[in-house]
Amino acid sequence: MGVTPIRPGQLAGVPLGRRPAEPIIEIDHVSQVFKTSSRRDHTALSDISLSVEEGAFVSILGPSGCGKSTLLYIVGGFVSPTGGTAKMKGKPITGPGTDRGPVFQEFALFPWKSVLGNVMYGPLQQGIKPSKAEARARALIAMVGLTGFEKFYPKELSGGMKQRVALARTLAYGPEVLLMDEPFGALDAHTRTRLQNDLLEIWERDRKTVLFVTHSVEEAVFLSDKVVMMSRSPGRIREVIDIDLPRPRRREELLLDPRYQKYIVEIERMFDASGDNELPS
């Protein structure tokens, strides 16, 4: 399965002069086996091969327990695969790096730092002058819509606001790839929709490569250029679907678009057929 050809429609809206065809991430026959307490090995990922082109928004969609987050952690360098290799720009991934920025469902903000302190953390770590780091952080805080909350501590923010800070914090150190691990999974439906819209708007400005893990079919179709469907026990890729919908996307237009509806129905049918029907949307 692995590498899928790029259909022309997928590139709609990509500015000229950029070559999105370069694979920025290559996952090559990766598998992950965990030792469980009962001494039986649990295969979380089995022989996964996937390549992600630069500038693409790729979602990894699957039921809980299919190893989709593990796959993301392997790309992040937080977890080493037990088999196969993952490469970033041709170089094997051996650990975390500033070229791959994670955004977690749990936000994982530094609670002792203010919003500004959190967003400035990465740039300061990179040795950027404090005045410059602050200017960059303030611009990003404005971009995620949190102007006026710079001095707040994470404790004082709602879940949606925390995730906005987490996104700004990751964008601040300029990773080439965003690794988003069910980032909106802990949020209520309304906040979730707003954050999806805002993420899309931010993404459509500079088209960073995004690897986005979710179990929501609608979320995956709405955001992505490509949806990687996974099945569980063991975690495998069962289908890679190009989402051939025009950009910039607007929710109210898409909801009325039969092509959008068709993608969702098709994907849900495929999951139903496989018995992986524990797919909350």
């Binding site: 790096g97 770590q125 404790k155």
Partner: protein
Amino acid sequence: MNALLKPLAPVLACCGLLAAWQLASLGLKNDSFPTALDSLRAIPPILTDKESLINILASLRRMAIGFALALSFAIPLGLLMGRSRSMAAFFNPLLMLIYPVPKAALMPIIMLWLGVGDISKTLVIFLGVSLPVIYHSFEGAKAVEEKMLWSGAAMGLSPGERLLRIVLPAALPEILTGCRTGIVLALITMVTSEMIARQSGAGNILFNALDMGQYDTVFAMIIIIGAMGICLDAAFEVIRRWLVRWSEPQFDMPLSFS
């Protein structure tokens, strides 16, 4: 009404305790149980006596040194144990052995080796403070969210930097809880060490007075030591609250975004 009573509550409790003491003492008429008023009257002479003040300050100095040394040793050790399985596997059994031993029980041996001076007493205070601080630092470090460390790693923080700049602040509320226990233990071990190695200090004044049958001075010293404990604890609590102000919710309800 409630707002008025709240700050007065400790004062009322103190007055109640003193009144009960006064009555009990008057009722019992025992020489070794002076009245509250007599004991309170014995405080100013102690606090204006140069010799006594030097003794009390020497106690506080040993306590401060023992406490500071304990923190600088126990916090790094606890954090390392919390983040490294092999460190925990090595030190946990050792600490479990030492934990139930009353540190003052080690005093005779320590005195034998190091004499009755400052070093022995400071060492006992150090031991007394170290264990709760190690334990709480360990627990705090263990509980640090993995994803927070991953976020730091993705920003380019090395393992050492992550320990210092993520694990330490993230575990700070728990560490400071250990330190607060440590302060009280420092005071206790300070007095007991001076009780065993009778050479100088607040504990020495107390036990000298006891030997000479000056019971009002004995009780006055108990009040002074108790007051020192309360003041130290209150001062530490102010510092602690300020240091972890970020970990306490400042609003009852989180602000809604929309």
